[in-house]
Symmetry: C2
Subunit: 332 residues, 2 copies
């Protein structure tokens, strides 16, 4: 096979966009549901998960045009899982904005957002069966179960001062890694990869997911602007301790000060001063640097998972993607 | 085939309960999610939908023990769709009680209830694929889409004075008839019924669903106690006009008085006096009687849908079930 050109990936990603538009088309419902579907069709994400799926699928045998088209469709379905999960997450977070645009719940109310998310999930299920994705359908269900557990696990940890790194890792597995895993697995299975290659791509997905979530948690400290539509230190404000904070808390002096700030957050008196303070503590105690080192470790593990595989030109693209995502660590 | 004994149905329903317990088992999650699953396992519903599925499936060819077991499993999955939808409905309705027990959202919070519903849906999807229900999986997705549309449609109508009987029928199709249709369809398809028998059983399910929802809406007026864990005239208090009210409003004098009461409800001043008043208006204008006549018409249509089919002893059981459900009309 030729070097997997970025251009080829780009063309396939355009196909993914077309399928997404199809799935989000309003067949004439109108009203709020029509508007919600239209907003979703207009929202442009990074489409990271279909990208992972398409890249992983290059290691498989089924590379004829019809097979590639099926993979693009599957990529759209993985992105839809992500979109449905964002709608339900935004209800729980009471988030006013997502990627700089009003969330479904803020625009149409929590009640409609519950059913809008369910409606998207129901369309995914219909397509998985109608288009005969019988080999990967259960994996979709499994990923959604993990995602729910990750969010529920995070809720259990909210406001608590004794959260462990292990609990954090379990929660981010569900919140982020499970769906990256699904993307790589689905691409591997549907493209006819052997069991051992599937297992390697699964590891790639999981480690990519860990890397990606830790990156997000770092960005929450590093960026001063409302990057990606988020206020900084949002998690902490909501009582959620992320990896940089958890590492910082392993220093007993830092721990005491962070607990004080956490109590401020609970009492709703966490303003710009507290944010500056927390950033300073987390930086000085080495929490940011250790989290950044972990992020790079997971990026490395992701690449190691596939280093014994024939290249297909994809490994280089993966490497570039991972390096681009890790750029944040330069700022730490 | 022998007369389909009530005893045989009862034995199969016990099998359904066992599958339900399996699906709701906590594999060791613990915490809130463990408690939610446990509460769901303990909650006992009428299990009407698996009952419909098992009865419809008697018209099929596949009646060996393994086939019947698969149908029991499928019955449990249909009931799980119902249970997941109740969890999400209770979030929207802000309902404190369901069948006399605290709802998931009131006990564990709306946020956890969102993910608890999603988690159940994800388990349904996993089983549909793992257990090879490829012929009926898409129908599950379709039913859930209809259910979302019904609830969203009802929200659009909330508080409005110009709702039509057609809109009401569209909404209750989604709220109730779609899942009864799925139960009958899934039973028919999975048991190997011919296309034409499938279509007849589908009609049975739809009409059963209409009958059942209108019955519920009648009960909301007829019962003075908190029957089935619900306050009376709850829908009206929330600005939702059901069939008895819509029929009453076709009398212009009654309409004016009902609009006045609807405004009271909006302003939160709908108490016992208003409830008595509304019941009197809806009764005197013939709204209750007309809705009851419709309920009986749909029950009749449900039976007509299968009257040309070989009996298998099921028709009599269906007739008994429908007559039992229609008993409410005696009180009107």
């Amino acid at each position: 096979m030729n070097r997997y050109e970025e251009k080829e990936l780009q063309q396939e990603m355009e196909q993914v966009e077309e399928y997404l538009s199809d799935y989000l088309r309003d067949p004439g419902y109108g009203g709020a549901v029509g508007n919600i579907l239209h907003d979703m069709e207009m929202s442009k994400g990074k489409r990271l998960r279909p990208r992972l799926l398409l890249m992983a699928s290059r290691f498989g045998k089924e590379q004829d045009p019809a097979g590639r088209e099926r993979l693009c469709r599957l990529g759209a379905l993985v992105e839809l899982v992500h979109m449905a999960s964002l709608i339900h997450d935004d209800i729980v977070d009471d988030a006013p904005l997502r990627r700089g645009f009003p969330t479904t719940q803020s625009k149409y109310g929590k009640d409609r957002a519950v059913y809008a998310g369910d409606l998207i999930l129901s369309r995914i299920v219909q397509s998985l069966f109608r288009d005969g994705f019988f080999r990967v359908g259960a994996l979709f269900g499994e990923a959604v179960e993990s995602m729910c557990l990750g969010e529920l696990g995070q809720m259990e940890c909210r406001g608590r001062e004794d959260v462990t790194v292990e609990q954090y890792m379990r929660n981010i597995y569900g919140k982020t890694a499970a769906l990256c895993r699904l993307a790589c697995q689905a691409g591997a299975v549907e493209s006819g990869c052997s069991d051992s290659v599937q297992a390697q791509l699964e590891q790639l997905g999981i480690n990519f997911g860990y890397m990606f979530q830790i990156r997000d948690d770092l960005l929450d400290f590093v960026s001063d602007t409302e990057e990606e539509g988020k206020l900084t230190q949002m998690d902490f404000r909501e009582g959620i301790l992320t990896l940089p904070v958890l590492y910082a808390m392993q220093d007993s002096q830092a721990k005491g000060r962070i607990i004080g700030l956490l109590r401020d957050a609970k009492e709703g008196v966490f303003g710009a001063d507290q944010a500056r303070n927390l950033k300073m503590i987390v930086t000085a105690s080495g929490g940011l640097a250790r989290a950044a080192a972990d992020m790079e470790m997971y990026a490395e593990r992701a690449l190691q998972a596939i280093e014994t595989l024939p290249d297909h030109g994809v490994s280089a693209v993966f490497r570039e993607l991972l390096q681009a995502k890790c750029k944040v660590s330069a700022a730490v």
